[in-house]
């Protein structure tokens, strides 16, 4: 659940916060693509490192590190499954281990890049930038609300876990299958209350005349400024440089 906290936005005034969401989107898309494209450990480290200046300048390192720490749990799974699968396909041990490490590093890199984006981008600005990119407003809003409810959901999951433990549920008890089953009393209330909340939000929005007028106009319009152009330029150049590692040097 800690991983989710690494995606909750809080107001900030740093240079990274003030960048237009569209410039940060370019960064996220290009560098996430690189992380998927490359398997080389050093290149993945380089891509991971690219997110660090954003985290540092945005002063969000404590929540960012929480999301990284939270994702360590998944890495154990990713590594183990990948390793076992490779061994079954009769790859040598070293190759299997390296591929497991590179998979895990790729996952951490993706988490870091997305976390840097969401920690420094306000959901309202994000929705507005999507609208300016001609995404239909309904979709932008849906996306925005989904993001908005992530921290709520993680808080609620914690309460549900507490409530069921109070009724004697022990999550870490039993065989592997039993342990998975132990989560049923957590997941059902979580899903049901999400539905209830969705219905409630829909009702509340309709009571406030959502969708009454087809033509919306925004209060603020996002514009790209000098800093944005500089950021995009640096992003695109470093993207091309990293990409050239494959085509010029043949790095996997």
């Amino acid at each position: 659940m800690k991983t989710l906290q690494g995606f909750g936005y809080r107001r900030g005034t740093s240079a990274v916060h003030r960048l237009d969401p569209r410039s940060k989107m370019i960064y996220v898309l290009l560098f996430a693509a690189l992380a998927v494209y490359f398997a080389n450990l050093l290149v993945l480290l380089l891509i991971f490192a690219s997110s660090l200046p954003l985290v540092a300048l945005g002063k969000v390192s404590d929540r960012w590190s929480r999301s990284i720490r939270g994702s360590l749990f998944f890495i154990v799974f990713i590594f183990t499954f990948n390793f076992i699968a490779m061994i079954f396909m009769s790859y040598p041990l070293l190759d299997a281990a390296l591929s497991g490490i590179s998979m895990s590093l790729r996952f951490i890199t993706l988490i870091s890049v997305f976390s840097a984006f969401f920690l420094t981008t306000s959901p309202e600005d994000l929705a507005q930038s999507m609208v300016q990119l001609r995404v239909p407003y309904d979709y932008a809003l849906t996306f925005n609300m989904a993001m908005r409810f992530v921290p709520t959901l993680s808080r609620e999951a914690q309460i549900i876990i507490d409530a069921q433990r109070s009724r004697g549920l022990e999550l870490e008890k039993g065989s592997l299958i039993q342990r998975v089953k132990n989560y049923v009393p957590i997941l059902i209330p979580l899903i049901i209350s999400s539905f209830r909340r969705a219905e409630l939000v829909a009702d509340a929005m309709e009571s406030r005349a959502f969708g009454a007028s087809k033509k919306r106009c925004p209060l603020y319009v996002l514009t790209l400024r000098g800093g944005d152009y500089a950021f995009i330029a640096v992003t695109v150049v470093s993207f091309l440089l990293i990409l050239s590692l494959r085509f010029v040097l043949g790095v996997p």
Binding site: Q164, R165, S166, R167, G168, P185, P189, I192
Partner: protein, 267 residues
């Protein structure tokens, strides 16, 4: 017996939710825990069954330090009912919902089904036994959540806001059930904002404010104390307010006492 000694707790460093809280609740007591929103009431009761462990100080339940016991062991003794029933109802039927804790604690089948029948009867849920808990009304879900904890017969019962969403009939049924349980020797602790409920049924009150215990004593004394109520943003019970309006020498939350005082003054 719950003993809280000098307990402090913060969810985030620097923001103390509990600040050196000390109190003790003896066996067979009936206690209300009241205070403004964010006073730390829920955080405190989560210490009683070990969901939260004190960051400073100690909490002991019947002599066991909560840091040295699992939640499952403590929960067998301390039944904690959460505020929102939707955070715990999940089973296919009301009956299965009631059996959940009984199964977790390994209560033998015969005893378990007797406990389920008792809970269905005590909370007027018998007619819904085969319904899905999710199709019940808000008030019924609330009652089912209470029943699903009370059914395993914990020695200490802790409830967070048990009266919200209940009409006056259900409220007085709840009160008489709590009184009966208390008479049979159970310790009952309720977190509540329902001052009338406290005034009428609960003899001891602990007022919390900003993470501290502001006052701890007889409800009859505390609920007529304007200073305490105001500093914890609490609404005085109507009888206390009437007493003040009429300028009674001894403000009271007891209906008979107020009536007698008014009659005495008239004569």
């Amino acid at each position: 017996m719950i003993v809280v000694r000098d307990v402090s707790y913060a969810y985030e460093p620097g923001r103390q939710v509990l600040d050196s809280v000390s109190l003790s609740i003896g066996d067979g007591e009936l206690v209300a825990l009241i205070g403004e929103n964010g006073a730390g009431k829920t955080t405190l009761v989560k210490h009683f069954n070990g969901l939260l462990k004190p960051q400073r100080g100690t909490v002991t339940v019947d002599g066991t330090d909560t840091r040295e016991a699992t939640v499952a062991t403590l929960a067998r003794k301390v039944g904690l009912v959460f505020q929102n029933p939707d955070h715990q109802l999940f089973a296919e039927t009301v009956e299965k919902e009631l059996s959940f804790a009984l199964a977790n604690f390994g209560v033998p089948a015969g005893e378990a089904s007797r406990r389920v029948e008792w809970a269905l009867e005590a909370f007027e849920l018998g007619e819904y036994r085969n319904r899905s808990p999710l199709t019940l009304s808000g008030g019924e879900r609330k009652r089912l959540a209470l029943a699903s904890v009370l059914c395993y017969d914990p020695q200490i019962i802790v409830m967070d806001e048990p009266t919200t969403g209940q009409d006056s009939r259900q409220k007085s049924r709840l009160a008489s059930l709590l009184t009966r349980l208390n008479d049979s020797g159970k310790t009952v602790i309720t977190v509540t904002h329902d001052m009338e409920f406290v005034a009428e049924f609960i003899p001891r009150t602990i007022i919390m404010s900003r993470g501290k215990v502001l006052a701890d004593g007889r409800s009859a004394d505390l609920l007529v104390n304007r200073a305490y109520l105001e500093s914890a943003s609490l609404l005085p019970p109507q009888l206390a307010e009437i007493s003040w309006e009429l300028g009674l020498a001894e403000p009271s939350i007891d209906l008979e006492a107020v009536v007698n005082a008014v009659r005495g003054a008239r004569r």
